[in-house]
C-alpha cells in the first residue's frame, strides 16, 4: 500500500492539489461562502483523477503486481488525506477569523466548528457521487465531477437556506465558537460520523464496480 501511495504522490497527484490545500487560508476573508473552500478539495480530486486518465494511470497500475482493490484503496487514501489536510489546515485560519475585529460573515455561515461538521458531510456527499460514477467507468471523470458538483452545490444551498430560515441554525450554529459550543461540537461529531460512513460505503462499492470494469 505504501508503494502505491508513493506512486500516487510521485506520478498521479495534480500539482494544483497543493495550491487548493493552501486555499484553506481563505477562511480569513471577512465575507465569503466558506463551503467553497472545501469544494476546491473536490476540484483537486477531479484534476488528479483527470490527470490519471490522461496519463493511462489505471492501465499502468493494473499491470503492476497488485490487485484492483489496492488500486482503489490507494486512491481513496490519497483523497481522504487531501480532505483531512484541507480541514486541518483550515482550523488555524478559522480561529484567526473568529478573533478578527470585523462583523460576522455577511454571505454565509461563520467560520466555526459547525462549518467543519457540515463541510465534512459535504465531502462525504462529494466522495459518494464522484467515485460511484468514476469507478463504473474511469473514462467518465468529467461526468462524475459535474454530477458531484451539482450535489455539493445543492447541499450548500440547502444548508445556507437553513441558516436563513431555521432559527436554530441562525441563532445557535451561525455564531462564534464562544457561544453554544456544545451544539456545534454535536454537528462536528455528526459530520465526522456521516463522512466516515459515506466514504467507507463508497469505497466498498467502488471496489466492486472497479472489479467489473474492463480496462
Amino acid at each position: 500500500m505504501i508503494k502505491l501511495f508513493k506512486k500516487e504522490i510521485a506520478l498521479v497527484i495534480h500539482p494544483t492539489a497543493y495550491i487548493f490545500l493552501a486555499l484553506s487560508m481563505m477562511l480569513i476573508i471577512p465575507n465569503y461562502p466558506y463551503y467553497v473552500i472545501f469544494f476546491y478539495t473536490g476540484l483537486a480530486i477531479f484534476f488528479t483523477c483527470l490527470n490519471g486518465r490522461e496519463n493511462n494511470d489505471i492501465l499502468y497500475s493494473a499491470m503492476l503486481p497488485i490487485s484492483k482493490k489496492e488500486i482503489v484503496k490507494s486512491r481513496f487514501c490519497l483523497v481522504i488525506l487531501l480532505e483531512i489536510m484541507q480541514i486541518l489546515l483550515a482550523i488555524p485560519f478559522a480561529i484567526i477569523r473568529q478573533k478578527m475585529n470585523v462583523p460576522s460573515n455577511q454571505v454565509g455561515m461563520e467560520a466555526n466548528i459547525a462549518l467543519f461538521g457540515f463541510s465534512l458531510i459535504m465531502l462525504g456527499i462529494f466522495n459518494m457521487v464522484f467515485f460511484l460514477i468514476y469507478y463504473k467507468d474511469v473514462r467518465k471523470v468529467g461526468v462524475a465531477f459535474v454530477k458531484s458538483s451539482i450535489a455539493v452545490f445543492l447541499y450548500i444551498a440547502i444548508i445556507e437556506t437553513c441558516v436563513h430560515i431555521i432559527p436554530f441554525f441562525k441563532n445557535y450554529l451561525d455564531t462564534k465558537d464562544t457561544f453554544y459550543i456544545s451544539y456545534k461540537l454535536l454537528i462536528l461529531g455528526l459530520g465526522i460520523i456521516i463522512y466516515t460512513i459515506m466514504t467507507v460505503i463508497t469505497y466498498k462499492k467502488a471496489v466492486k464496480l472497479f472489479e467489473n470494469y474492463d480496462i
Binding site: K6, K7, A10, N55, N56, M63, L64, P65, D214
Partner: protein
C-alpha cells in the same frame, strides 16, 4: 512444459466476440500472435492479464489460476502494450523509481544495460520520445524485473528496422535463457526471424496454433492465368487477382490434384490469402 494454458476463453461484446480461444505457450519458446486489425489480439492479451473480464474459460499461468494468484503471477510477467503513453510529463527515471518498488526481482544492472542499448535517456519524459522509443522504454521496464514470460502487444510497430532487429535479437537471447515470449505483430517478417510457434486469430477464433515451419509448409501458392473453374474453387483459399491472372492458397495435401506447379508460400502470403474474401 506449458507455462501458459488458455482454455475456451470467451468474451462477448455487442459487436465482437472471442470464441472459445484456446492455446498453450511452451517454456522458452517465442510465439507470434497474428491476425488482422480487430481480429481479437489485444482483447485476448488483455484477458490474459485480467484487464478484461472473460465471460467464460480458464487461464492458467505455471499451472495456477490467474484470478486467484494474480499478484504472484504478475511478478513473473512482463507486459507491454504497444505505444501506450504513461505519465507523459514525468521523467523516465521517476517512472522507473516507482515501478521498481513493485517487483521483488528488479535488476538495476539489467535496466541500465537496456537503457544504454536502446539509447534511452532517463532524464527525458515520454512526451519527448518518439513512438519507437516509448516502446523501447516499455520493453526495458518489462525486461528489468526478470520476467519469466513476456507478453507484448505489437512491440515492434513504430520501430525502425535496426531497432526492430535489436528487439528481436533480445527476444531470441531471452528465449535461449529460458524466457517464454508471446508477441502480437502485423510485421510478418518479425515472425520469420524469431518465432518458434504461431497463433493465428481470425474474427475472434483461433484458426492455427502450431509450429511456424509446419504452418508454412502446410500451404502452397497456385497461380492461374484465367479465372479457375467453379469445380475447384472449394479447394482454393482466398482466390485473388494478381497482375497476370489469379493466385490462391491451397493446402499442401491438395497439391497433387493440380497439374500446374505450386510454389512455396510464405507467412505473409498465407495471411493475405486467408484473410482475403473470395474474388
Amino acid at each position: 512444459m506449458n507455462v501458459v494454458e488458455v482454455n475456451n476463453l470467451c468474451k462477448i461484446y455487442p459487436k465482437f466476440e472471442l470464441k472459445n480461444v484456446s492455446f498453450t505457450l511452451e517454456k522458452s519458446k517465442i510465439t507470434g500472435f497474428i491476425g488482422r486489425n480487430g481480429a481479437g489480439k489485444t482483447t485476448t492479451l488483455k484477458s490474459l492479464m485480467n484487464l478484461i473480464h472473460k465471460n467464460s474459460g480458464e487461464i492458467l499461468f505455471f499451472g495456477q489460476d490467474f484470478e486467484n494468484n494474480e499478484e504472484i503471477i504478475k511478478q513473473k510477467i512482463g507486459f507491454v502494450l504497444g505505444e501506450v503513453n504513461y505519465y507523459s510529463n514525468k521523467k523516465l527515471n521517476t517512472i522507473t523509481r516507482i515501478t521498481k518498488l513493485f517487483y521483488e526481482n528488479w535488476d538495476d544492472d539489467a535496466y541500465i544495460h537496456y537503457m544504454k542499448m536502446f539509447n534511452l535517456d532517463g532524464s527525458k519524459t515520454p512526451s519527448q520520445l518518439s513512438a519507437g522509443m516509448k516502446v523501447k522504454y516499455s520493453i526495458a521496464l518489462a525486461l528489468s524485473h526478470n520476467a519469466e514470460i513476456l507478453i507484448l502487444d505489437e512491440p515492434t510497430s513504430g520501430l525502425d528496422p535496426v531497432s526492430r532487429d535489436e528487439v528481436l535479437d533480445i527476444f531470441m537471447n531471452l528465449s535461449n535463457s529460458g524466457v517464454t515470449i508471446l508477441f502480437s505483430t502485423h510485421i510478418i517478417t518479425d515472425l520469420d526471424k524469431c518465432a518458434d510457434n504461431i497463433i493465428y486469430i481470425k474474427e475472434g477464433k483461433i484458426i492455427a496454433d502450431t509450429n511456424v515451419n509446419d504452418f508454412v509448409n502446410s500451404y502452397r501458392i497456385l497461380t492461374f492465368k484465367t479465372k479457375p473453374q467453379e469445380a475447384i474453387k472449394p479447394i482454393l483459399i482466398g482466390l485473388k487477382p494478381i497482375k497476370n491472372g489469379y493466385s490462391a492458397l491451397i493446402k499442401t495435401k491438395d497439391c497433387q490434384k493440380f497439374q500446374s506447379v505450386s510454389t512455396v508460400a510464405d507467412l505473409e502470403s498465407i495471411m493475405i490469402h486467408i484473410e482475403r474474401e473470395e474474388f
